[in-house]
């Protein structure tokens, strides 16, 4: 078992599945039933999430860790429907519900009903604000900071940065941008020379970057939000400019481009995003809570980082048009919980 790869959280799907539960106290939850309440299934990230959860859940059931791990999806992304779905799960006698919520607030009534009935509720990605539920949130701000930290480490002399942003007016874009701004303030050798909106899409990013490039000085690095790295690289190549250090976002085409550039000229960068397998992390957190472990209510999703060491492995495991994924294990859940216990204040940043 390649444990160091596991620690990096950057294992391919197949590796993650073979990742053992060795050393876990799992007997106590063998009679427990866990349900996934999902609000939407209309994009590749969600499809990937459901598939990963089903695989990991079936494995856990086969291993006797839990009695059931069932996935339910509402037909439309509607809070009232999902609230009814959660209430049905209470009736079905599930011991824990993991939840990607349609609304942070509109499900609170149903979540409270569940808590009152003694059901453990763990929300992830789309989290709920009900105090009795656990939250596994994405630290987008930290993701922005991390990009600049990486650039500072690779480019100690600093330089000009280009920022490719997401869809204007969306919370995720604001948070990532705030994180990047904080990162640039911390590393004052960098300066944001220009910013464009790439809308998390390769074609939009390519057009936007191509449009702003002629007006820019030499660019040393590009910070992105995922889904826009490949388009950015294409724009730089088309303009005949030196390829800057582009931080990528785990999309298959981005990773493929990186692998090609590496084979050609030894290009090295960092790619990071949130893995759809976060549903399996929520699953293990729920299992640990059912096991009687004391888990803080606010946890943070680790980023799935692809480094030069894990690039080939990840690339091989990622289907075309998809996003790099990982299946989290009980050990990963342990680490996330330990991190939250060690630094509770960091989770307040969102």
């Amino acid at each position: 078992m390649n444990r160091s790869a596991l620690l990096l959280g950057a294992v391919g799907l197949t590796m993650g599945l073979s990742g053992g539960l060795s050393g876990m106290a799992v007997a106590d939850t063998s009679g427990k039933r866990i349900a996934l309440s999902n609000n939407y299934a209309g994009n590749s990230w969600r499809q990937s999430m459901l598939q990963t959860f089903t695989e990991a859940g079936d494995k856990a059931v086969a291993d006797g860790v839990v009695a059931a791990a069932d996935a339910y999806t509402t037909s439309e992304n509607q809070a009232t429907e999902q609230a009814a779905q959660i209430q049905n799960m209470i009736l079905q006698g599930y011991d824990a519900i993991i939840l990607d919520a349609a609304s942070p607030t509109a499900l609170n009534g149903a979540v409270e009903e569940a808590c009152n009935a003694g059901v453990t509720v763990v929300s992830f990605d789309g989290i709920v604000t009900a105090p009795c539920a656990w939250r596994i949130a994405v630290d987008f701000r930290g993701m922005g900071r991390e990009q600049v930290d990486y650039l500072a480490q690779r480019l100690p002399d600093g330089g000009n940065l280009l920022e490719v942003r997401g869809l204007a007016g969306v919370f995720v874009d604001d948070e990532l941008h705030a994180g990047i701004t904080e990162g640039v303030a911390a590393h004052d050798q960098f300066k944001i020379a220009g910013a464009v909106h790439g809308d998390w899409a390769q074609d939009v990013a390519q057009k936007a970057v191509a449009g702003i490039l002629p007006s820019l000085p030499d660019i040393a690095g590009v910070v992105t939000q995922g889904g826009d790295g490949y388009g950015t690289a294409q724009a730089f190549a088309a303009a005949g400019r030196d390829m800057p250090l582009i931080v990528l976002g785990n999309r298959k085409d981005e990773l493929q481009w990186w692998a090609d550039a590496r084979d050609e000229n030894g290009y090295e960068t960092l790619s990071l995003s949130i893995a759809p397998g976060v549903a399996t992390l929520a699953f293990w957190v729920a299992q640990q809570i059912l096991d009687g472990k004391d888990v803080p209510k606010d946890l943070t999703v680790p980023f799935l980082k692809v480094t030069a060491d894990t690039l080939d492995e990840t690339l091989a495991a990622t289907p075309d048009g998809s996003v790099a994924n990982t299946v989290y294990t009980a050990e990963d859940a342990d680490k996330v919980i330990a991190a939250a216990i060690a630094a509770p204040s960091e989770n307040g940043a969102k």
Binding site: A41, Y72, A79, T80, A84, Q87, N88, P104, T105, A106
Partner: protein, 310 residues
């Protein structure tokens, strides 16, 4: 037996609900309890109120496509103003009811198609809701939360509320004089007008009643969810139309049944739960829900045909 069904239109919705309830109890015996019934039906209470609101509009031969957005707006007002400044909140809700009444009057006076006006208004309600609550949040007033989670003896809140709402609306629409005249507007507005009734005011009254029930639906919803979201009840537009028709109402002629509408709403809510207990794949659930609806409507059509032949 067929004659029995045609004579008592209410029988079909009652039998549909009973069958579905029996199947649900068989699938999930845990539902057969005070606690279980409440969980099964508490989210049907706002749907039932919204269905009655839609029924008021269908009663006068119109249809309301803005109901879901309106209930969402009420939910936003309830979770913000009604909680922070109850008097201002009540005033806003009152204005909303009056706006509904005015909408009915305008539709009648200018002879506009209700389907277009209400579709347009749905964007207005949605816009105001987003303005009030740009991101999901707000808090349900404590008294409302207490009311919706009350635990009466013997009968769970959801069932008690459904019976109470159905009975009161039945008295108002089926038994009272004004209710009969309102149904008459749907049946034959011209003769009601010739008989000396001001049809504009009657239509405004019907729409105002719809607004009132819409407000009650939004408040009940917030009492259950504890907070609001500008898109919280968009599904209610179609659910409410389906509920009215499932409950024995018809799109024209003022033929409606308040008790049937409440039962129709409960049936729809139960159908969704039943399908989820069946562990049917989500891809099939929407279709299956539609199939149940078509099944009941087909049964009704068969009975009406037989009746016509007899």
């Amino acid at each position: 037996m067929i004659r029995l069904f045609t004579r008592y239109r209410i029988l079909l919705p009652v039998v549909s609900l009973a069958l579905l309830l029996g199947a649900t109890f068989y699938m999930q015996p845990r539902a057969m309890s005070y606690f279980g019934l409440n969980l099964l039906f508490n989210l049907a209470v706002p749907i039932a109120l919204a269905t009655l609101a839609q029924m008021m509009i269908i009663m006068v031969n119109d249809i309301d496509l803005s109901l879901g957005a309106f209930v969402s707006l009420v939910a936003c007002v309830t979770a913000t103003w009604l909680n922070d400044a109850p008097l201002v909140g009540l005033l806003i809700l009152l204005v909303l009811v009056l706006a509904y009444a005015a909408m009915g009057a305008v539709i009648h006076m200018l002879d506009l198609p209700a389907i277009v006006v209400t579709l347009g208004m749905s964007f207005v309600w949605g816009g105001i809701a987003l303005f009030l609550l740009p991101s999901p949040g707000g808090v349900s007033p404590d008294w409302l939360r207490a009311l919706m989670t009350i635990k009466p003896p013997f009968v769970p809140m959801a069932v008690a509320a459904a019976v109470l709402i159905a009975a009161l609306t039945h008295l108002l629409i089926m038994r009272s004089g004004i209710g009969t005249v309102l149904r008459g507007v749907g049946g034959n507005a011209r003769s009601v007008g010739r008989a000396g009734w001001p049809v504009v005011r009657l239509k405004a009254l019907a729409y105002g009643l719809a607004g009132l029930f819409g407000v009650l639906a939004g408040m009940a919803l917030v009492g259950l969810t504890t907070s609001a979201d500008a898109n919280i009840a968009l599904r209610y537009t179609l659910l409410s139309v389906a509920g009215v028709i499932l409950g024995g109402g018809e799109f024209t002629g003022g033929k409606i049944s308040p008790v049937g509408a409440v039962i129709g709403a409960l049936t729809l809510a139960l159908a969704a739960s039943f399908l989820s207990f069946l562990r049917l794949s989500p891809d099939w659930q929407v279709g299956a829900q539609g199939a149940i609806l078509i099944l009941v409507l087909t049964a009704r059509l068969l009975f009406t045909r037989r009746d016509a032949q007899a």
